[in-house]
Symmetry: C2
Subunit: 277 residues, 2 copies
Amino acid sequence: MLPFLSRADEMMNANGDGMAQQARETGTLGKLMVLLDLVTHADAPLRFTDILSLAGQPRGTLHRQLSHLVEEGLLELDGDGRYAPGLRLLDFAARSWARNEFRLIAEPHLVDLQQATGETVHLGVLRGQSIIYLDKVEGRQPVRMYSQIGNASPCYCTGVGKAALSLLPAESLVDLLAGVNFTRFTAATHASPASLLAEIREIADQGYAFDREEHEAGIRCVAAPIWSEDRTFLGGVSITGPAYRLSMELLREWVVPVQRAAGSIMEGMRIRLGPRR
Amino acid sequence: MLPFLSRADEMMNANGDGMAQQARETGTLGKLMVLLDLVTHADAPLRFTDILSLAGQPRGTLHRQLSHLVEEGLLELDGDGRYAPGLRLLDFAARSWARNEFRLIAEPHLVDLQQATGETVHLGVLRGQSIIYLDKVEGRQPVRMYSQIGNASPCYCTGVGKAALSLLPAESLVDLLAGVNFTRFTAATHASPASLLAEIREIADQGYAFDREEHEAGIRCVAAPIWSEDRTFLGGVSITGPAYRLSMELLREWVVPVQRAAGSIMEGMRIRLGPRR
DNA sequence: AGGTATTGTTCCATTATTCGGAACTGAATT
DNA sequence: AATTCAGTTCCGAATAATGGAACAATACCT
């Protein structure tokens, strides 16, 4: 569904001649990742033939590639010949999450913010054209975790996403949006780059962003951007909740606390990263 | 730390001659996975040179391999030249977790068991020589999630691990244990295959396993095994908690509920998988 | 049942990618 | 300025991936 880090940004450059296209693939690995993407994005485990038609590769080739992925534990093949994501992915992810510096630094500030407002707090970063949620703090959590963490969400209709975009220089922003597929999730979702760009300019001035039920009907949020001096990471914190409880007035009251949390996180990052450079 | 799915099981077979060794590598992918393992297992982000010495590969080669991993989002390279696990791993994992059939089937039974006992319930499966925790249900959870989920833990000193091992035919069990490195976590940890084998035989008879502070001092658990007719998946459910609260008597009382939960999960799997074969 | 279409697996000469030594750049150190 | 150390680029040689076709093993249909 979500195209994630698309390496294929510069594929359609302006010239029409038959020049050798820019180096754009990661060789063998790139092809295997496409397959992993296919399987992990599928709603149900896929059979060999399903993948064959989706991947458009010769059978022999595909068969070997899948075998390699299975042998490495990245995919699993059940007794009925259906391919599902492998559990080794969980092991990798658990490790990368547990040790993630940014998350570790942010965590206490997220908890503070949650306690101050009583609503759900998210931490997300921009990767490619998607926001990946790195952490989530809920009150007495009725819902299961992992529900949001790790999920890639669109950048053009989430509070954290728009906050992150507002930090990009105009040129990169346009480049990035050129590759985005504007899916209309609700009536309020931006349907084109034009209207989005206008809002983003506003967000850049104000220093905070709202999500007015743009991604999911009945869900609103306020978000503040997080950046580093060299723009190597961009992200945001947000407070999210049901529209019936979070009036726009209330969200406006929370602008200051969210911005303060974002500020504290940036401060923490500066202390951690500053001395090195 | 944990060697995970070691493909290299049959490397040291009995013969001493120079015959071509069994096919054992996954080509390009296998080499890249070794690197991913290195980085995700490290305590802190690694610099190029660190990886160079750990991986023992020519510089040019290593450089290209790491570049590919970074380009695919499996690794991230920060401004200081340090490699950390990439966030794309999180995205993959979130998906594979959310859609995992076994977990979805087991979930309600885990919740029931948690409510019946008030203690933490785990669901784990055996992959290679490790137990991977697929789910965890706590009471009003004071600790963060992801803490355990996805983590690979040793099979020889966890309740779920020993329960899973007890289902293996004698031969496979010996093979598997031959590759295990017996780390002594506490005074109660099995230090050799011999004593472990004895206990596992007992567990196979009884149909349940205890962890008597073998993995972590002060932590005990009861676990019951889960299997399928064709032995394609082996795992277990467990109730875990602090030793001061969970006396051995209490654990013995919980044998029945844990076994019942395991039974219900197997039942659920049979309904789901049965009709197909 | 028998025949046929479908699905999955193996083989091997060809082709493309990876390999890895060496030469190169740039920064830190003396 | 000279010297080490860390990281990057280059290119012929070695190796692994490719994909067509032949081969199993099932499911599907009269």
